[in-house]
Chain length 255, copies 2
Amino acid sequence: MCQLLGMNCNVPTDIVFSFTGFAMRGGHTDTHHDGWGIAFFEGAGVRLFVDHQSAVASPVADLIKRFPIKSKNVIAHIRKATQGQVALENCHPFVRELWGRYWVFAHNGDLKAFAPVLDGAFRPVGNTDSELAFCYLLQQLRRRFGDSAPPLPDLRAALGELVAEIASHGVFNLMLSSGDALFAHCSTKLCYVVRQHPFNTAQLSDEDVSVDFAQVTTPDDRVAVIVTEPLTTNETWTEFLPGELKVFVDGLPIA
Amino acid sequence: MCQLLGMNCNVPTDIVFSFTGFAMRGGHTDTHHDGWGIAFFEGAGVRLFVDHQSAVASPVADLIKRFPIKSKNVIAHIRKATQGQVALENCHPFVRELWGRYWVFAHNGDLKAFAPVLDGAFRPVGNTDSELAFCYLLQQLRRRFGDSAPPLPDLRAALGELVAEIASHGVFNLMLSSGDALFAHCSTKLCYVVRQHPFNTAQLSDEDVSVDFAQVTTPDDRVAVIVTEPLTTNETWTEFLPGELKVFVDGLPIA
């Protein structure tokens, strides 16, 4: 299995604190050492960093920990291979373009007997169940909505159905974003915290690092962090229910 | 206008030496300071680094200069904006998937009155003429060859026609690769050098750096470097003819 980390904010925010703890699980405090990746939206553009080295050993991960890239939507992943060999093309997140927007996807889980018919519009480059599921998702969205992006409620409803269909094949914890909303689906394990005014000090669970968010924020800032296992020891993390698809916009889960 | 750099090799090779000189043109020895990017194939996977900062000021470019990523096909670009604002989504190279392979594209030039009809399969995310041309190229390749990649000679012939059609709208120097061959088309300015046994010392023109390739290669290695303006002062660079499309495989232009 793998681990997922997502961040959705109302203003561009850096993920250095959360990623520092998360990356420790990529070979140090946990065994997810078969590659890692992180994607940052900046406007419509995406910065994608992937590496088949473990996150603790990767010079690129080191750069991310030192270089504060600010983004409203970030998706990160550390991999423990279940399907597909250890190779760059099998590292999450995956990126494809649909409706003139980049879509970023990462998955934690394992799909069995999942062999959807692909029409060729989106084809996997690697050989993971995850990239296959992503290609199928985008194909079905395009089939349903044609050449333009639907309003968010319609997209959410369609994703709810599609994700449930794929999740019938196994464990399908996922994160998906095209730069506005961040979609997070829980099969087995996912939790989140919303950080907002009044901000407090947070203490990482995977490394001896803490940060006083009051010193680095304004009272209007709001940040949702979504992750497989809580990243801090002194914040209240809300667990997702199995089968739940949450949509985060401007740092909050929306109803 | 912008500048292009490509590398095609018979064994995975790092581009640190060439990129070091090339990056100096991104704001130091030349004025291409509106972003930059570089894409490395590793097997079927791609590492893409893009930044809207100038290459001389970018911490990511600094990482590339220090971290020897080995690849058989690399495409890099430094941007001086002509169409499209300075933004991450307008930085080359662009990446899309076709036929289950990633395609990497970068362009130097300026297309006028270029407004092809897109069917929705590939749509630009940013607003450059370059990304539009790339989307049109891939769309037309898919229309012509359907759902599977054609043999290289057929692909080359099709690209020759498509590139000539697009180049009728203006300057269209480009590099394109899906990880095996590297295609390079010259409208106005492009040159290349093939480095092979016996290797010599090369001296960068943009920085006081030289390398003795005999010390870092084996006799079987072969590397083609393709670039807008020669990168070294003591090697013989071959100029492309205007309108020429060359295909590099295993470090050599093929007939």
